[in-house]
Point group: C2
Chain length 464, copies 2
């Protein structure tokens, strides 16, 4: 770090040229908007409201759809939105899948004996089934892809198929890395079942180097009996791969205790500030409130939900009355069903309101980078013209790109928007025991809340 | 996180429009540059060379100027540069200040007795002096600023002045927050000494909420006898502030054991790849190799040094022979003297070479954001035209701004450039026991190395 003697005050000229970039905003408005943006940021960084709420939320526990704790969290959120003084707060009912992990799953090397029943660090994949009472014990067929399995169907019969292609860590965007690896988890087990395998082990799709298994939903297909499928920590994946090379007849025993219960009643949690000039024009800002069950989903997606709630709180605290209705939605069941998003989308279609924009925060609570937008060119250009204001909260770009799963079903919205923070650490913790409160940095989280608050404010003032 | 069903491939149109932004680069060159940038990034993320070296470097220990371990690290770096196959590697001698902390300092509440000699978490500030053998025991005068002290000079006599203004955490840029608080540490103790105080306690300038004290250099003035000065963890700063309010006659005892020895011989470590076309035109890329002594300086500035060394390694590994000479410099003694930077600057002036650019990495190993540039408008514009290529490594902007302390003394360079990663977590660890290897994320560090490698490559090819 530069010492005091030599430190140089950084000249951030972006702002000095801001006025030139604002074709459609006059100078007085620009001054006002800059001032509001500054206030929103300062309030967020000072109060850390979202970050403090996240501590309480994580104390409740994981929020897997249909679970008791997910309901506890839902009622907690409803209470907190009411306490924050929003104009209306309500629960929107939907039925959700109800899958349970049951007792802690186990796996060990059953043969040869020289491995002394070495334990493997695994976690059942969401939606999978229990093993028979004595577990399953079988030889391993390691493959690196679905294509490789397709060519080895005969070999797979009676075996446990081990999908072991690592996430490509040379890709800069970790979501791309994840996207390139996750077919093994989603499609692998069902394809293995179709080939006659008795179980599936899937290498965790992660950038981390630890041995924590990552879960996530695995697919099903009509007429195919599911087989037990588990994620495995990458250290144990490497160990198993080496062991199988040395001992092709090596056998693994797996016990899982999962079950799928009848669909359960659950809820989206919704709170709003009514628009003062165009109450029928709605800006949605939200995330998904369910999490996987291996941790408390601090980054996926508890923290991001609370960032979107904080947008409304920041308005309240700064006495900002939005011209258009600003609505925060905690969607339930993104992880294994998307029922909350579908329910809201259905309702939005018949509500008689005009949804002008929906913003989703579902990429963790890291430092802001940009917004991805699905809209026409005009709306995109309008939002890009706001960059000098958005940049105050470290938003560097507004670009076309995917928004978010939960807001996808909102038809006819002028713009669907995805908030994009830095992603380098996200896949270290995603869907694993690492996704906890202590992995969240308060400043990074609060700057994200500020970024969305500024964008929502500008849309509310200027329309799209 | 979006499930597979609903995941949407992100369209990053920036790249598709890249060709339009390149007034001065033809299409073939652009293709080549993009391809080289991709290779540099992939190699960095795959091999993690810098990150692996950082583990070894941190195992040596802290690298305070003049210390035995700093010399050990210097010889280690020389060896590693030679092993990496650089064209030339050499040490550049300079004398450096040699301050030692000595035995672990202590502080406790000496009066009233009901505090039971509660210990305070402190660390002597760099450059300060030892207390007399029995320590110092005195009442506390708490102030929030140098100005407040100036108005209370009489009160300060015989007391320990306690500078307790917190870092302003509502500022988005944590370097601005730091800059706003650090006058207490640098100027506070000497001003307290001039007022007749017997000691100084300075609240740590940090965004963290833990109780670790942060050190850093404190100033001196001709004719002023220094008084013992210590940094204090912010939890204990708050505790002390409350305790003094309740007990205005409260006394604190401090023991420090520091000493300043005669200047010691030390070295900048320099390695280079000779330019194939313009060997006399030099691009410097470097950081400072000394650290404070409370930790191993993984972010400040060991990791960033190794990023700059990796620039050359990435060239070697990809068989890139730069047109202009690319020189990595590990400057010694930025923290408490800048002697390495001054020595290099002096040498650069008489070396007969032309320094066209110097890039410093001294803001931690976090995810890339941009480059700050001190240059004429033309060179700035040229570098900005490279943004579509730089953006591959997550560089979003190239803007006028301060570069770095060590490269400041390089006169007549066409451009002085500061690499700017995300800064939100930097002041959590800066100058404290938190600045260790485990606080570094390999991907974030390696993307920084890539960003600088791409910029150096483009300058080497295109000039400035």
């Amino acid at each position: 770090m530069k010492t005091l003697f030599t430190s140089i005050i950084v000249l951030f000229i972006l702002f000095s040229t801001a006025a030139n970039s604002f074709g459609q905003i006059d100078k007085n408005k620009l001054e006002k908007y800059n001032s509001v943006a500054d206030k929103l940021i300062k309030t967020a960084l000072k109060d850390e409201t979202g970050y403090k709420l996240l501590k309480d939320l994580c104390a409740i526990g994981p929020r897997l759809s249909g679970s008791e704790k997910s309901l506890k969290a839902i009622y907690w959120a409803e209470k907190k939105m009411k306490e924050a003084g929003f104009d209306s707060v309500w629960l929107q009912k939907t039925m959700v899948p109800h899958w349970e992990r049951g007792a802690k799953e186990t796996a060990f090397i059953a043969y040869p004996a020289n491995y002394k029943k070495k334990k493997l660090n695994i976690a059942a994949l969401g939606g999978t089934v229990a093993t028979p009472k004595g577990g399953i014990t079988a030889e391993i067929l390691e493959v690196k892809s679905l294509a490789e399995l397709a060519g080895k169907k005969e070999e797979a019969k009676g075996k446990i198929v081990f999908f072991n292609r690592p996430l490509d860590k040379t890709l800069v965007n970790t979501f791309s890395g994840y996207g390139g690896g996750v077919d093994q988890r989603f499609n692998g087990p069902v394809e293995a079942a179709k080939a006659g395998a008795v179980g599936a082990i899937v290498r965790s799709v992660t950038t981390n180097t630890d041995n924590n298994p990552h879960t996530g939903v695995t697919g099903s297909e009509k007429g195919v009996n599911l087989i037990p499928a588990v994620g495995i920590g990458i250290q144990d994946a490497d160990f198993l791969s080496n062991a199988v090379k040395k001992n092709p007849n090596l056998k693994v025993t797996i016990h899982t205790y999962c079950r799928t219960l009848p669909d359960a009643e659950s809820y989206n949690v919704i709170g709003e500030l009514k628009g003062t000039e165009y109450p029928n024009e709605v800006i949605v800002v939200g995330g998904h409130f369910d999490s996987w069950d291996l941790a408390t989903g601090a980054h996926d997606d508890g923290g991001p939900c609370l960032q979107t709630m904080e947008v409304l709180s920041l308005f309240k605290k700064n006495n900002i009355k939005p011209k258009r209705t600003v609505r925060c939605v905690f969607f339930i069941n993104e992880e294994n069903g998307l029922r909350g998003g579908l329910e809201y989308g259905k309702w939005a279609e018949i509500s008689g309101e005009k949804h002008i924009a929906a913003i989703e925060s579902d990429r963790g609570c890291f430092t802001p980078r940009g917004f991805y937008v699905q809209s026409d060119a005009e709306a995109l250009k309008k939002m890009q013209s706001w960059l000098p204001i958005l940049n105050k909260s470290l938003i560097d770009w507004v670009l076309p790109g995917g928004s978010g799963a939960d807001i996808g079903p909102i038809k006819n919205a002028k713009a669907l928007i995805g908030y994009v923070p830095d992603d380098q650490r996200y896949m270290d913790l995603h869907h694993s025991a690492n996704d906890v409160y202590s992995a969240v940095n308060p400043r990074e989280m609060e700057l994200g809340a500020s970024a969305m608050a500024i964008l929502v404010y500008l849309i509310s003032e200027e329309g799209l």
